[in-house]
Amino acid sequence: MSDILLAPAKATREDVLIAPLWAEIVEITPEAEGVSTFWLAFKDKALAASYRFAPGQFNMVYLPGYGEAAISISSHPAKPERIGHTIRFVGNVTNAISRLRPGDTLGLRGPFGMPWPIADIKGRDVIIAAGGIGLAPLRPAIYHIIENRADYGKVTIIYGARAPGDLLYPREYDAWRKKGLEVLVTVDRGDENWAGQVGVVPILFYNLRVRPENSVILTCGPEIMMRFVVFESLARRVSQEHIFVSLERNMKCGQGFCGHCQIGPYFICKEGPVFHFGQLAPFFNVENF
């Protein structure tokens, strides 16, 4: 058992297994090549006013005729009337969504999933390690930390992407720094304008001084990256119960019925997507499990 509690968010609605709730695309923000943030607002005013989510949760986003995709919420948890979904256009559903315009309608079911344990890590140093699109589910946690800055110790974001053009939210890094967060960025391959660090995310650990007993790691990105983030964290004596990992899987329901997102005894949609590494350790290194 971890001394840090992963606690389910209070559900705002429970009757969303089947039928979606309809939301309008109010704005689309291009973020990177093949990635945009879709800002959605529920058409039903009462629903828009009552909808809440916690950092790390996701919605099932539905485009009729194409299907649903599990998309993390990437916007400010204290501003739930406009719900941001940063979407990478990579599959059948998301490619179809890429052709939509403001004013178009999408179905939403959610929010689902175990949030980051932000309420239970007060007073601690927080290292946020993200790769590529993995920064999206962490951004609500970053906003929460900034809004409650005094509740947390040293907060460091280490973030990387394949190329400078793939970095998400680059215009926000300076704002985050101004609020007292350290933001370290790396890319796998630079270009002629890139003057920053080159290399994979885990190497940024060598720039950090980690206080193992007081630090918490929040990580989301490609599984191979998270594997090395976990490795570097454990090597610095951070306990596996203080390393929080967000996993991605094919999902159909969001409530532990459809079976697709299982890893061992867990339904990633329900017991995850955020786990502490102690939960995953028995399975993380088993090939194809």
Binding site: I18, P64, G103, N250, K252, H260, Q262, P282, V286, N288
Partner: protein, 375 residues
């Protein structure tokens, strides 16, 4: 003959033709009576009108990848063990339409589907089947989320359960602790002897269905025959799974056992085992769209962990080969299911053995993993 007053828990005997009156009562109460009958040389569950539709005098001969119906050389109605179908198809149908959408002026309008469900009376539910329904209850009706479709169907059924006195060649319910005797969870329980049916009242609905029957007191010969039959059944299982309590740890501690790859060389990844399994619950959703794109029908369909698309996602396939898919199926069924729902996902019905075209036998594979197992 003194009149017998029935109450909850009563056990009485009826002459076999009297069962038709029970079915008649159920029909009058608005139930569609579904029971075992023969179709296309196999046992199926379909609407039955009375005793004449039941598979009297028949048994099935089953083994890995093989199923044949044979005469039983007696006149009993319920000796035959289940075929590929289970009651799952009524509570959790292979396809169920969720909703229909129409696009108008850029907005999607929902057309509610009025699902006018029949109320089913399941006739002849064996203990393994009853256990399977109880397992799916735990999957679909939970404290955190409940599946409204399943719950609606489940609340409306009537169960006439059956002690299983003649288990089949691939059965191992005695190992799983789910049979061959019915303990609870029925409206009426039936035990078939040569001359009579013994009926036990399990619920007010069961009591209702047994009104005005010509019943007899259960005499001690019948009780003895019933007890002997149940005891013999427990000892005549076609398959045995040893030390079931140790299996969850055995499997989860041996995820890299060489047997998984060896099974994969035989497994066709055809999904038959998951389709016939009375507890497998995975599903997918499909959108069927009209050519103009104006109408969309969203449908829930059975899925299987053996389908490649089941574990496919943007970054590639989580389980890219048959070894990983079979391992997922067996470790889920016999290990992690218990952490998820408090019970194992296997009831020992043996369908996955019989209906596997490669004849892969779950009991044999688990025993093989015990060899060279890590603690």
């Amino acid at each position: 003959m003194p009149e017998i007053k029935l109450h909850l828990g009563s056990q009485v005997a009826i002459r076999k033709p009297v069962l038709d009156q029970v079915l008649g009562h159920l029909e009058k109460a608005g139930y569609q009576t579904i029971g075992p009958c023969i179709k296309d040389a196999a046992l199926v569950y379909a609407p039955i009108g009375g005793l004449q539709d039941l598979p009297q005098g028949l048994i099935s001969e089953q083994s890995g990848g093989s199923y044949r119906i044979k005469p039983s050389n007696n006149a009993r109605y319920f000796d035959i063990t289940p075929g590929a179908q289970s009651w799952k198809q009524f509570l959790f149908p292979p396809r169920s339409e969720s909703f229909k959408l129409m696009k108008e002026n850029g907005h999607w309008l929902e057309e509610g589907l009025s699902e006018d469900l029949p109320r089913y009376a399941f006739i002849g539910v064996r203990p393994c089947e009853l256990a399977a329904i109880a397992v799916q209850d735990k999957v679909f009706i939970r404290s955190d989320f409940t599946d409204p479709i399943y719950k609606h169907r489940r609340e409306r059924i009537f169960i006439l359960a059956l002690d299983c006195l003649h288990p089949g060649d691939t059965c191992f319910c005695a190992s799983m602790g789910t049979g061959p005797t019915v303990e609870s969870g029925f409206d009426i329980k039936l035990t078939e002897l040569d001359d009579v049916f013994l009926l036990e009242v399990g619920s007010p609905a069961g009591l209702e269905a047994m009104q005005d029957l010509s019943v007899e007191a259960v005499d001690s010969r019948w009780l003895q025959a019933s007890a002997a039959g149940r005891k013999a059944a427990a000892n005549s299982m076609g398959r045995v799974l040893s030390d079931v309590a140790s299996i969850p740890d055995l499997l989860i501690n041996n995820l890299e056992h060489p047997r998984w790859k060896e099974i994969a060389a035989r497994c066709l990844s055809c999904t038959n085992c998951t389709q016939v399994c009375p507890t497998c619950f995975c599903w997918d959703v499909e959108d069927a769209t009209s050519l103009g794109g104006k109408n969309t029908m969203r449908t829930r369909v059975w899925d299987s962990c053996f389908n490649p698309a089941y574990s496919a996602q943007a970054g590639g396939n989580i389980r890219p080969n048959t070894a990983s898919r079979y391992r997922q199926w067996l470790t889920h069924k016999m290990s992690t299911w218990r952490q998820q729902f408090g019970v194992l996902g296997c009831v020992g019905c043996g369908r996955c053995i019989t209906w596997c075209p490669a004849g892969i036998d779950i009991t044999e594979e688990i025993e093989a993993i015990r060899v060279d197992a890590k603690e």
